[in-house]
């Protein structure tokens, strides 16, 4: 395997799910899990089962909606889609993550410079 997979930070899965649904529209649990795996280049350590805890949490907060439907290959599945509130939340979370990663990046960079001086 070489490089070990990334452990997911608390709350990151929720953002990824929201983003996936924002881009992909309506999707079932398996689709969401597969999509995240593909996009992350299989770098994320994701037990696909944990996606359902995230989905129910988002649903309870009113950020996504769910409805039973039929998949492409005629299988009964629950389809999720992002709501208005979910989009607002996603915007907030995106801004937050970008700021955070920017800050963390800068702090780490500064430490490296400081060490050299």
């Amino acid at each position: 395997m070489g490089k070990s997979k990334l452990d997911l930070l608390q709350g990151t899965l929720d953002v990824m799910v929201l983003q996936t649904l924002e881009i992909m529209g309506s999707l079932h649990g398996y689709g969401i899990a597969r999509r995240i795996e593909q996009v992350s280049g299989n770098e994320v350590l994701l037990n696909q089962g944990t996606i359902y805890a995230s989905l129910v949490r988002l649903q309870q907060r009113g950020w996504i909606a769910a409805k039973w439907g039929t998949s492409d290959n005629n299988r009964k599945a629950k389809f999720y889609s992002i709501t208005k509130a979910g989009q607002r939340q996603l915007a907030q979370d995106t801004a937050y993550w970008q700021r955070l990663s920017g800050v963390v990046g800068r702090v780490l960079a500064m430490q490296a410079e400081g060490f050299e001086q």
Partner: protein, 883 residues
């Protein structure tokens, strides 16, 4: 923040729809796996491999399910429900343990509930009036003799009403009402009724509104006003059948027609606030003009103006009262009252505060003992459940989870105990509230209400934590490996010893607590016995009194002949020894005048004195002892002779060192000749010293207020009542069906608060003793069981039965002795705190302390003897073979 609220609501909904959501999730996961398998197969994997990989990528299905539940529902509630289910299963399995634990808790919590509701009603709750904190009772400072020095004349009252600026209103009631002073004539027999005369604005001052009709109006307090009456709720209900149309109608009250203007609410209970234990049936206006020359007779209640402090009002009262004249018509009688203002609540229940707090502490101790006992029982079980818990720890349960599980068990036990205890307390309170003979204020209002329920919950939870936490920590703290390894032969010996020490400590503290309770109860009991032992100055047994209706039209000669007839004919009843009449009985209401010795000095030095207007034979009928001189005769009554019998206190104070017989005293404005001296009679209660007393014949000068016939007979009062009533009806057909009251009942009424406290503290200490002995028994019995093998070996090696028995008993005694030593020390401290409640009993009363030591020692011995006997019967062979 809206999403948090929504999430909370959804979580509760999810918790309630658990099954449905689980099913949906299962379906969803199933279709998820199918899709994964399909995709894998499309990539060319074999069906088996495709499924295997799909499952690997998914992670655990069960974990996903649990994670799902945690994120959507109420995980802590899930845990709680789980724990509760488990608890019920465990408690059902250990049925015996559960029953004992719940019963013990029910006794402990029940007694706490009962005492709390008494304390709450009498001490904590405000009086049931409007803005009760503004109500003030006004009495003379340093009241010396009875109610007369706690009351004011009509003139003084009116002056104070007009001159003060501190009070919104001041009113009062006639303080010398005899029970059954009215008779309600209706269909058939007349019914005796007690009516209180209240001054103008009395109910308005208290803030009481009638439940039917209206209150008195100003024009009903003037001379020759149309007579009106307000009825008490119970009287209206029972005697007038709760008939609403009675308002506005006339009733026949003591042969005059009186209009009923209203009915007071059932929440208003005059007796329980102003005269504990008395039942009051109706109220009539106190018309000032009728009482102008009758001396002090109004008991005053005032309502402070908004924003006026008690201190400020007191200040004003201190200036006003000394300037008040006794009577406007006779300014020569002088002026000069004092007025002590006391909050009405404080006046009513202040005296009881200490007793009630002691009682409260006593039940607190009981609860502590109960908790210690429960802790002990749980620890005993802990050893048995050691393995179970070790197993659970080994399977990954956290310590916190185990402690919570054990606390859940305690809580379930405590709440079950509280529910049963609430039932017990309810019955006890119902009984107490209907004890008319108990002279405790407000007792009739005692009941289980909101604050009581809140208190119940509080002590149930408190108790659960208290008795559950120690065993909880102990049980969850063991080393699972060790315990499981030792499981083959039961609990390891070292472990048992550790529990033993803890349990011994608990038992010692239990004994110490019981010790304190016993000493407290013992001291109070000794005080009570001393009170009963007091020489009352009269003989309450074998005597009974009945209030007699006599219509003499205010004519002294006619009254004398009626009285003589009543006494003559009742004395003639077979079995009756002697009868006599007085207008007043000891330890009931009282009234005082002044008396002075007539001597050489010009000015007379009056002392306050209790007055009794009597007939010949009364002293003998009461069993009072004539020390010197003679009794009153019928001749004294017939000839209006001014004679008086005084008690020893008066003789000592007016004529110290001299023979009082034949001397002249001045009382009620009349010169009277002293004809006899009687031994002092305890006037107000068995505990207070006797005051000055005098007995006057009912003559023209000294009219009686009410007529009480006292009958002395060896026959029981019930059998006597019929023949006495028959005789009275022959003399006066209008005689109402008044109650025949044993004189002992008067004494009992006066001692009832003390009796009440002694009884309760006694019961509680008995309970404490029982629980402590159970505790000792439990610990010793358990340690014998645990040491069965050891004892067997010792016996096999030659120890005799007696030796084994002695060892076990010695172990018990050691526990008991340590507990008694600690308890005795604590008792000395507690005894000092209750010193003011004691009567002629030292705080360090040796009999009480020695008695407690012997009693506890004996109970300890008994509790140890049973297991000791069992130990000595252990058969070595069987003991060794069992393991």
């Amino acid at each position: 923040m809206r999403h948090l609220l929504r999430e909370a609501v959804n979580r509760v909904r999810a918790f309630l729809r658990e099954d449905l959501l689980d099913r949906e999730l299962d379906e969803e996961m199933a279709s998820h796996l199918e899709m994964a398998v399909e995709e894998n197969m499309r990539r060319g994997l074999s069906p088996e491999e495709a499924r295997r990989q799909a499952l690997v990528r998914f992670g655990g299905v069960q974990q996903a399910r649990e994670l799902h539940r945690e994120s959507r529902g109420l995980p802590w509630l899930d845990v709680l429900v789980q724990d509760l289910r488990y608890t019920f299963r465990i408690l059902k399995r250990d049925c015996g343990f559960t029953t004992v634990a719940v019963l013990i808790l029910a006794l402990g919590i029940g007694s706490n509930i009962a005492v709390f509701s008494v304390v709450n009603t009498i001490l904590l709750q405000p009086l049931p009036f409007r803005d009760p904190q503004q109500l003030v009772r006004i009495v003379e400072k340093n009241p010396k003799a009875g109610e007369s020095t706690k009351t004011y004349t009509a003139d003084a009252t009116q002056d104070f009403q007009q001159q003060n600026h501190s009070f919104e209103s001041v009113s009062g009631y006639f303080a010398f009402t005899a029970p059954d002073n009215f008779k309600l004539e209706g269909s058939g027999q007349s019914i005796p009724a007690t009516g209180i005369l209240v001054a103008e604005g009395f109910f308005q001052t208290l803030g009481v509104q009638p439940s039917l009709g209206r209150l008195f109006r100003a024009e009903e307090f003037v001379n020759h006003a149309q007579p009106v009456a307000l009825l008490s709720y119970p009287f209206w209900k029972t005697q007038l059948g709760g008939d609403r149309s009675v308002v506005g109608r006339s009733i026949n009250l003591s042969n005059s027609s009186v209009t009923v203007i209203g009915v007071l609410p059932h929440t208003f209970d005059f007796g329980s606030v102003f005269s504990p234990g008395a039942k009051v049936d109706l109220f009539v206006p106190y018309i000032m003009d009728d009482f102008r020359d009758d001396g002090n007779d109004l008991a005053l209640v005032g309502r402070l103006r908004q924003g006026v402090s008690l201190a400020k009002a007191q200040n004003e009262a201190d200036q006003l009262f000394p300037q008040l004249y006794f009577e406007h018509k006779h300014p020569e009688y002088g002026k000069g009252y004092t007025g002590q203002l006391t909050g009405l609540k404080e006046y009513v229940s202040g005296k009881l505060r200490r007793s009630l707090i002691v009682l409260w502490c006593a039940v607190g101790l009981i609860l502590l003992i109960v908790c210690v006992n429960l802790s002990n029982l749980l620890l005993a079980r802990a050893t048995a459940r050691n393995k179970e818990f070790a197993m659970r720890i080994a399977l990954g349960a956290s310590r916190r989870r185990l402690v919570l599980q054990l606390l859940t068990e305690s809580l379930v036990l405590a709440i079950a105990g509280a529910i049963v205890g609430l039932g017990l307390a309810y019955v006890v309170l119902l009984y107490l509230a209907h004890q008319g003979s108990l002279a405790l204020p407000l007792l009739r209002m005692v009941r289980v209400d909101g604050p009581v329920l809140a208190w119940t919950l509080l002590i149930a939870i408190g108790a659960a934590v208290l008795f559950g936490i120690l065993p909880g920590l102990r049980m969850s703290g063991g080393n699972p490996q060790q315990i499981l390894k030792a499981s083959a032969g039961g609990p390891g010996p070292s472990d048992g010893k550790k529990y033993d020490r803890l349990r011994s400590t608990l038992v010692v503290s239990e004994i110490a607590l019981a010790c304190v309770l016993l000493v407290g109860a013992g001291l109070l009991l000794r005080s009570f016995l001393h009170v009963l032992d007091v020489d009352l100055g009269f003989e309450p047994s074998h005597a009974a009194a009945i209030s007699v209706d006599s219509d003499d039209g205010g004519d002294a000669a006619k009254r004398a002949s009626i009285w003589q007839e009543v006494v003559r004919r009742t004395t003639a009843i077979p079995g009756v020894e002697v009868t006599g009449i007085s207008d007043n009985l000891p330890m009931s209401r009282n009234r005082s005048w002044g008396i002075a010795a007539k001597g050489e000095q010009k000015t007379l030095n009056y002392i306050d004195i209790f007055v009794y207007i009597v007939s010949p034979g009364y002293l003998e009928a009461m069993g009072m002892r004539l020390m010197e001189g003679r009794d009153i005769t019928w001749d004294d009554l017939a000839n209006n002779r001014n004679v008086v019998i005084i008690n020893q206190t008066v003789a000592r104070r007016l004529w110290p060192g001299q023979d009082p017989i034949g001397r002249t005293a001045v009382t009620g404005g009349t010169e009277t000749q002293v004809i006899g001296v009687i031994a002092d009679v305890r006037e107000s209660s068995a505990e207070d010293n006797s005051g000055a007393q005098m007995y006057l014949p009912a003559t023209k000068q000294f009219g009686p207020e009410g007529v009480n016939l006292v009958v002395r007979s060896k026959l029981p009062p019930t059998s006597l009542a019929i023949s006495v009533m028959k005789t009275l009806r022959q003399i006066n057909p209008g005689q109402p069906a008044t109650e025949f009251k044993p004189i002992q009942a008067l004494v009992d009424h006066a001692t009832s608060p003390r009796r009440f406290f002694v009884l309760l503290v006694g019961i509680f200490s008995g309970l404490g003793l029982l629980l402590a002995s159970l505790g000792i028994y439990g610990v010793i019995s358990y340690s014998v069981t645990r040491q069965t093998q050891e004892i067997g070996i010792r016996m096999a090696l030659g120890a005799t039965e007696a030796r084994v028995r002695r060892d076990v008993i010695w172990k018990t005694l050691r526990l008991a002795l340590v507990g008694i030593a600690v308890g005795t020390f604590a008792s000395f401290v507690v005894a000092r705190l209750i010193a003011s409640l004691l009567f002629q009993t030292a705080q360090t009363d040796p009999i009480t302390f020695v008695g407690m030591v012997i009693l506890l020692g004996a109970v300890g011995l008994l509790a140890g003897y049973l297991p000791a006997r069992r130990a000595s019967k252990i058969h070595p062979m069987i003991a060794l073979r069992t393991n």
